[in-house]
Each structure stands twice: as C-alpha cells, then as structure tokens.
Symmetry: C2
Subunit: 360 residues, 2 copies
C-alpha cells in the first residue's frame, strides 16, 4: 500500500514548475472559492494565544457546535483531524473482514481498509450510466459483507445516490448486519442538502456512520477538521478509549465553533454554488471534444474524447492545475476532475481549455 | 485500555469550579511560561490564508527547518501531529511483542504499546534512589525484549539518564537486537541539552528512535507538532506508506518553520529556565513537609510527607492546578508534579502551598 496522490498538491507542482504556489490556479482541490470566512479570521486574531494551552481533550465546544448545527445529540459525535482521521478510526474499530467500495471513489477508503486488514470489493460504476449506482447494486450484497462505504455525492464523479435508494440500501444493510459508512464531505454543495443527507436516520440505525468535514465548504483544508456521527455508542467509546489524545489543534477546534454559526458565509456560499454550478456546466457542455457529467457537487468530472492529449500537462503550462483521474480504479487518463470556482476563474479555465483543445 | 488523564486539562477544572479557564493558574502542564513566540504571532497574522490550501503532504518546509536546526539529514525525519502521533506510528510499525518502559513515565507509551498488541514490562524506579535508573537496569535486558522506551528527562520525575549510561544502553540494545526509543520532549529544558541528547547516535544506530516535540519549549501545546528521528529508513518508509495524510495542519507546520529559527526566544527561554529552576527548587526545599526531587527539566516532582491531605484539591480552591501523580504506575497520591513558571507565578505558588500546608 502506497501513499496515494490527491488533488491540491500545489507544493509539488510549484516546485516542479519553478514558480511560487500562489501563481498556480488550483482546480484540483474542491474548495469553496469564497475563501476563509471573515468570522474565523477575526476569531483567530482575537484568540491567537489559545495554543498556549493544550486543547480540551474532549473538544466540548466543538462537539456542542456540531450538535447544534445539525440538531443532533452530542453523544453521537466523534471529532477528528480531518474526516480522514474519523474514517480511519471507525474502520479500525469496526474491523471489517470484507468491505465494498465504489469504483471510482475517494482513495483513502481503500487505504484505510487495507491498513485494517479488510478484503476490499469494488462496485464498478458504469460509464454508460454516467457513473450512477444502478438497481442491481443490492443484488450481490449479503451478510458475507461487513461494511459498505458510499461517498455521497461521490468523488470524483460528482454524482448522487438519491434518498429513496439510500433508504433501501440502509435497510438492506441493517437486515444483513452490514455497517454502512456514508461520507457526506461534499453534501453541503448539493442543491438541497437536507434531501440528501442521511443524518435523520442515525438515531434508528446503529449500523450507520456518517462522515462530515468542514474542510471543503468553509475553505479550510489546511486546518484539518472533520467528524463522524453514529448512534453506535459502543464503537464511539472504543474510538475514544484507543485514540491518540489532542489530534485536533486548538485553531482547528475553534474554527468549528465559529464557522458553523456564520450564517452570512453559509448563505453566500449557497448562492455561489447554485448559480455557478449551472453556469460552468453549461459553458463546458459547449465544448465538443469533452463529455461533461452533470455535477451534483462543487466539482465536475469530464472525459476527453478522441485524442490522447495529456490535458493536465497541457494546462499546467498555463499554470492551471487539474486533477487527472488516472489513479482511480475504473477511470483512465481520459478522465479529469475540476473544481467549480468563482465566475471569473471559471471563465479563465474555459478559455484555457479551449486554447489547449485548439477550439479557440 | 482507557483514555488517561494528563496535566493541562483546565477545561474540565474550569467547568467543575464554575470559573473561566483564564482564572486558573496551571502548574499541571509543563509549558514554557514565556508564552507564544512573537515571531510566530507575526507569521500567523501575515499568513492567515494558508489554510485555504491543503498542507504539503510531505511537509517539506517543516522537515527542512528541523534538519537545519539539528544539522541532520532530511531523510531521517518523520513529522507528526504532536510527538504522540510519532510515538504511536513508530510503535505500530515496529510491532514489538515485548516492550519495557519505566515506572513511572509518560502514560501514552503504555497506551500505544497495548494498542499495538505488545506485552508491557516495567522497570520500577526506586524512590530511595530518587527515581533514577541504576546499574542493574541492563541486567535483565536480553533479546527477549523488542523495544525499550526511555523518556529523558523522564516525566513526571524530572530525572535524567546521563550520556555514559545511555551509550551503554544503546550498545546493549544493538547487541541484543532491541529497538530503543528515547523521548527527548523535555531535553531543551535541561542545563546542557547537547550533553544529553542522543541525536548524534542516530546515524550509526538503526535501532535508535528519537522523539522530539515543539510543544513544550515553544509554548504551543495547542498546535500539535512533534517529530521522530531515526536512520531506520525502512521503518520511515512504512510509516509514510501507511499514515493518514495531512495530519499536521498548516498553522502548525508553519510554526515549526518559524520558531526553530527564533534565536531570541530560544536564548530568553534558556536564561529563564537556568535561573528559575535553581531558584524555585531552593524555595521549595525550605518547606519541611514535602520532599522535593532536584529537577533536571522544567517541572518538579515532590512528595507530601506525613499527613494524607489532597494537595491538588486544596490548591484548586486557590485556583491553582497541579498534577497529582496518583495515576502513574509506581507513584501514589503523595506525589505531585508542578511546572516551573515565571518568578512571580512561582512565588504565588510557594505562598499558596505554604498556606495550604499551614506553614505560612
């Protein structure tokens, strides 16, 4: 098992190109382009000295803020150093023998499963079906499986599993004694998050584990803060008993307390994504030599048709970084993922892409 | 295995007392009282937006800063979310079957060993020998052991293993194929760190693992940043292959790059500790009803003689928090650990302690 490449590694690229990293337009990381909320900047400057103390090992303020934000019980929440810590620790404690993940999907699930000694099966999403889950998904799922991990909306496809289907899946899992982990890291970017999230099922389904992150929506990937929600209190107790202490630093914990209350930022972000998702998609659709998959989240999967040009390399020459999907299972080097950014930057991208494809 | 109680949990105490946490004088966490370096505050305010990007997964700037600070090779360094992550990941990768730790010592070693499935043996430090390691230490150490963990200076005793003895130990370990982890988290506070650290042995001893933290000396326990140094490159490769990505957040990584170059802060801190260690110790020595162990680091172990008063509770009434050592193996509720703080605060402590002991 190796370290895998993710989007957002502008350090390596800047080194390689011999330019400052601020010169690169990063379409490879799916981060809210509104940037760091002002509410957090103000809180940080005011509370700069909080790091002179150890963090609260129970992160009470942070847990409380999350509970209030979602109207759920404090006791169902576990917080971590990014969603990744939560994913790794839930898997480590579930100790699944056989697990099922989508192909393609976020790469860290497989790493965490392999680290925990699980056998990993893949559900191959079909290109001809726009990489959406089909009815047959449940057919092969039985009690031989211990864990299913679904990323919803899925990364890198930006496709959604609708709630009706998800309800069928969770019920089927419950019946067959299968744990279901749903990573909703990007759910805040879908048109109607309340219609997608399975949070309201947590209380009644002890086999359900929901993963959330503040990273993407609040533009704080450098801070590392995520959380898990489940009513499996035994598992939460095990996680707390075995975990390393103080994995979230104080500035990150404070961010959770501040940004979840920032209604102004949340509203502006929703306005941006609603408008820009439609606009950017419609502009990209006009380009003949790519096939664009209609995005449900704040990033877009597309396929380069025809020639075998390395689009990532070509755009890098224009200091634009995109995510090649070649290291995902069931993808290849014709597939690319790009973030949806602000109007001006998206237009820069369209222009550059057209130039690279000789369509200008 | 349970979560263990450490010093520095002012959140729980403040809750319990119903006061703000800033009202509590915290002698339970061993943190440099000079507080957050100004150099870091300035860098933070200037670079507040760096968290809009993911951290560099390889933390190149941080590793470089550490390498320069210690004049060692980049390739020997692994960085982590506090020393704790490094300790946990080295142990997880060494997979020791039998390990030896001191009693008493820092509590997380035992937790990490149990989590990794190791059998844990204890070397009981003797009270009559001021909790120092004796010559017989090596007698029972043979190839049945896989790992020895030494904390130097040791926590909570503030006692030192001198270099001659340490050289004997590392050689004995090498001969018997035993890994030796030396946690030097507090070495910057000893009178002559260069005379204590085993850093210069790393290159020639692949069985040596040195742990360091920036937490204590640079007063940034809330930031979480530590590192390990070893020439066992196979192990470092394994750690990197299996680790969760981005465990150090960007503000923490930046701290490492800034504070290790802050010669002014380092000099002032050394002046403080040199003067205050002697002074505070001599003042405490004058109190008849406690036995004080001469400190080598920035904290002091003492024993309450005679009556069975709960000193921690008594001092809490004066809003002073100290560390009871009752949850350390080979300690009991007569032992307490206190940090060395600035002159004025230390004097407050002496006064309060005397009052509590009715010696005023």
């Amino acid at each position: 098992m190796k370290c895998v490449k993710h989007g957002g590694n502008i350090y390596e690229i800047a080194d390689k190109l011999g330019v400052g990293k601020e010169e690169i337009i990063d379409f490879s990381a799916n981060i809210n382009p509104l940037g760091l909320p002002d509410s957090y900047k103000e809180a940080l400057v005011k509370n700069i000295n909080i790091i002179e103390n150890y963090p609260d090992p129970k992160y009470r303020g942070l847990v409380e803020a999350i509970a209030n934000y979602h109207h759920i019980d404090n006791k169902y929440i576990t917080v971590g150093n990014g969603a990744t810590e939560v994913i790794f620790s839930i898997i480590e404690n579930l100790k699944p023998r056989r697990s099922l993940i989508l192909a393609p999907t976020f790469l860290e699930y497989e790493r965490a499963l392999i680290r925990a000694g699980s056998y990993v099966e893949y559900y191959y999403l079909k290109e001809e079906n726009d990489f959406q889950i089909e009815d047959e998904f449940l057919k092969d799922i039985d009690e031989n499986l211990d864990l299913i991990i679904l990323c919803n909306p899925n990364n890198p496809t930006s496709q959604l599993i609708d709630k009706n289907r998800m309800v069928k899946i969770i019920n089927h899992c419950k019946k067959n004694n299968i744990s279901l982990m749903i990573d909703e890291a990007f759910v805040d970017f879908v048109d109607d998050p309340d219609q997608v999230t399975m949070l309201s099922f947590v209380k009644d389904y002890k086999n359900l584990y929901i993963i959330r992150a503040l990273t993407k929506f609040f533009a704080i990937p450098g801070l590392r803060i995520g959380y898990g929600i489940t009513s499996n209190e035994n598992l939460l107790k095990n996680i707390n008993d075995y975990k390393e202490p103080w994995t979230i630093n104080s500035y990150a914990a404070m961010a959770g307390e501040v940004v979840l209350k920032d209604q102004f930022y949340i509203k502006r972000s929703r306005e941006w994504i609603m408008a820009e998702k439609v606009h950017f998609y419609s502009q990209l659709k006009k380009i003949n030599s790519i096939k664009v998959y209609k995005p449900k989240a704040n990033y877009i999967l597309f396929k380069l048709l025809g020639d075998k040009k390395d689009l990532r390399e070509a755009l890098l020459k224009k200091k634009i970084l995109i995510r090649s999907c070649s290291n995902y299972i069931n993808m290849n080097n014709s597939f690319y993922r790009i973030a949806i950014k602000d109007r001006k930057t998206n237009e820069k991208f369209i222009k550059a892409l057209k130039e690279v494809l000789y369509e200008s």
